[in-house]
């Protein structure tokens, strides 16, 4: 009887220890994993799910990168194989290890018509439907790998120097990057040829960033999430019929709002509690 009691106590203690050590391991492991997944400034292959879902889905097999480097079009003029666009993140790349990404200044995405990297994905992390046209054909122009952003202060076109390198490098010339003409008041007789990125067309391929002539590119691709803002649902473009529909089919004189009179003293809320 005493023996079985001892055994039971020993069993309980061992189990408790195992559970405790597992909990310790779980805390360390979760903390580490959560930290390493926080690398938002990463450009993913075409058709990639939103980063949060992409990190869940990617099984890190590398089939996309292999398809990218071994595609028929990936050859130098002498027939030798070029470096591929997609790389698999290694330790030290500071991106989630084993996931595919690309760096435009190394190798941008050449936007292959047959998109070899997407259909090979076995897990669904690269969503073929998102790069398929209504006709059911693959359409790389629908890809949204990122969004090109121009830093005006370092772009020499904004200085008034003629440069249209990014405009010409863009696979969707005059659609994704357009040139805006402006009068150069400084000289009085020249024009600015300003590159303007159209964010509803830009695929984020990075050819512009690769082509940019400045020491550090003045046009560069950021993930869409990092390159864009959001006005919020409560702003409606009243002059835009389609956008106005969001507000419902209501006429102004039908809208009544009742706001209770505030009991508090009037205050300058914009400058409240701000000291200069």
């Amino acid at each position: 009887m005493a023996n079985s009691d001892n055994n039971r106590r020993k069993f309980m203690a061992t189990t408790l220890q195992s559970v405790g050590l597992t909990a310790l391991g779980g805390l360390l492991w979760s903390g580490y994993t959560d930290e390493v997944k926080a690398s938002p400034l990463v450009l993913r292959p075409p058709g990639a799910l939103h980063e949060e879902d992409f990190l869940k889905a990617c099984i890190k097999c590398g089939l996309c990168a292999e398809a990218c480097v071994n595609r028929d079009s990936n050859k130098n003029k002498d027939g030798s194989k070029r470096e591929g666009t997609l790389q698999m993140a290694k330790g030290g790349d500071h991106r989630m290890i084993g996931t595919p990404f690309f760096v435009p200044t190394d190798v941008p995405c050449y936007m292959c018509d047959d998109i070899p990297c997407v259909p090979v994905c076995p897990s669904g992390a690269l969503d073929e439907a998102s790069v398929t046209s209504e006709k059911g054909e693959l359409d790389i122009n629908q890809a949204r790998m990122g969004l090109a952003v121009v830093h005006k202060e370092s772009c020499i076109a904004f200085w008034g120097i003629q440069c249209d390198a990014c405009y010409r490098a863009c696979p969707l010339m005059d659609e994704a990057i357009t040139l805006e003409y402006q009068k150069n008041e400084r000289t009085g007789k020249h024009a600015f040829l300003l590159p303007i990125v159209q964010s509803d067309v830009c695929t984020g391929c990075g050819l512009c960033e690769k082509a940019c002539v400045t020491e550090k590119p003045a046009i560069f691709v950021l993930p869409v999430e990092q390159a864009t803002g959001r006005a919020g649902d409560h702003y409606v473009k009243g002059w835009d019929k389609k956008d106005q529909l969001r507000a419902g089919d209501r006429k102004l004189d039908e809208i009544e709002t009742h706001t209770e009179r505030s009991e508090q003293e009037a205050s300058d809320y914009l400058n409240a509690e701000v000291e200069y």
Binding site: S18, T22, V36, D53, K56, A57, N70, G91, G98
Partner: protein
């Protein structure tokens, strides 16, 4: 006398498979593409690692049919045929830990056995479950973030980077830390294959009549608790932790060990 028949066969298989993966990336071969996480055999047969697949499912993502079918194929193969053979015939880390194990013996590091009270052989099963929980909580396949297996494989296929440090860490841990520490105590992937391969057909069989009780097999076996029948009973090794590596067969001078097919007629097996 000991020979190295199965050692050579294993190394040939391991290096051969790694070369096929390497060639898929370097030369565009379509024999075996991808990594252990998910692969394509001959360009159309999907293969996927069951534990990796489970981790992705644990994050809440509904996987593509290719991966699920691939995982099923792998499960059926090891469940019916191979047992835990992935660990000793495929996994590249096996070469690292085998080297550490061999060096331990050469350097006499095994003489004073330390009792690692907190690190038991069943720790791997706890880690296996823990990996799924962490995957669910953090939303990323948790073991894949630090798995030395796929890090080493990807390293050999497309460059190591700083990932080599994980492989070195495993080597040092097994050499100076715990004997068979990684493969025999911690690896959750090995744990998953232990469970999958528990009922497989290919088994090491022991012939009690021929055994001279030299215990060489227990010295080389990385999971020597599975060899509890040595010089006691003529039965098969049925524990899931046996990796079917054949080291015990190579080292046995008495023909008392050999591969055989599990017999379901003889209840003792």
């Amino acid at each position: 006398m000991s020979n190295i028949k199965y050692l050579l066969l294993r190394r040939t298989t391991q290096i051969g498979l790694l070369f096929l993966y390497f060639a898929a990336n370097a030369y565009g071969w379509h024999i075996l593409e991808g990594t252990f996480g998910a692969s394509k055999l001959f360009g159309f047969i999907p293969l996927a690692d069951p534990y990796t697949t489970l981790q992705v499912l644990a994050t809440g993502f509904v996987l593509g049919a290719d991966v699920l079918l691939g995982a099923l194929i792998i499960i059926l193969f090891y469940m019916i045929v191979g047992g835990r053979a992935f660990c000793s015939w495929v996994c590249p880390i096996n070469m690292v830990t085998d080297l550490a194990n061999w060096l331990r013996r050469k350097l006499n590091l095994d003489k004073e056995e330390v009792n690692y009270r907190f690190l038991k052989r069943n720790a791997r099963y706890w880690l296996m479950v823990l990996g799924l929980i962490v995957s669910a909580v953090v939303g990323v396949s948790a073991f894949e973030v630090l798995s030395p297996i796929t890090i080493m494989q990807r390293g050999l296929v497309c460059g190591f980077g700083a990932g080599i440090s994980v492989v070195i860490a495993i080597f040092l841990f097994d050499l100076f830390g715990v004997k068979n520490g990684w493969c025999g105590h911690l690896c959750p992937l090995g744990a998953s294959y232990s469970l999958i391969g528990k009922v497989s057909l290919i088994r090491v069989k022991h012939d009690h009549e021929a055994c001279t009780n030299c215990m060489e097999c227990k010295v080389v076996c990385p999971e020597n608790q599975v060899l509890h029948m040595i010089n006691k009973e003529s039965i098969s090794v049925t524990d899931g932790e046996c990796t079917n590596c054949g080291r015990c067969i190579d080292v046995c001078g008495d023909d008392a060990l050999g591969f055989g097919i599990r017999s379901f007629v003889n209840k003792k097996d």
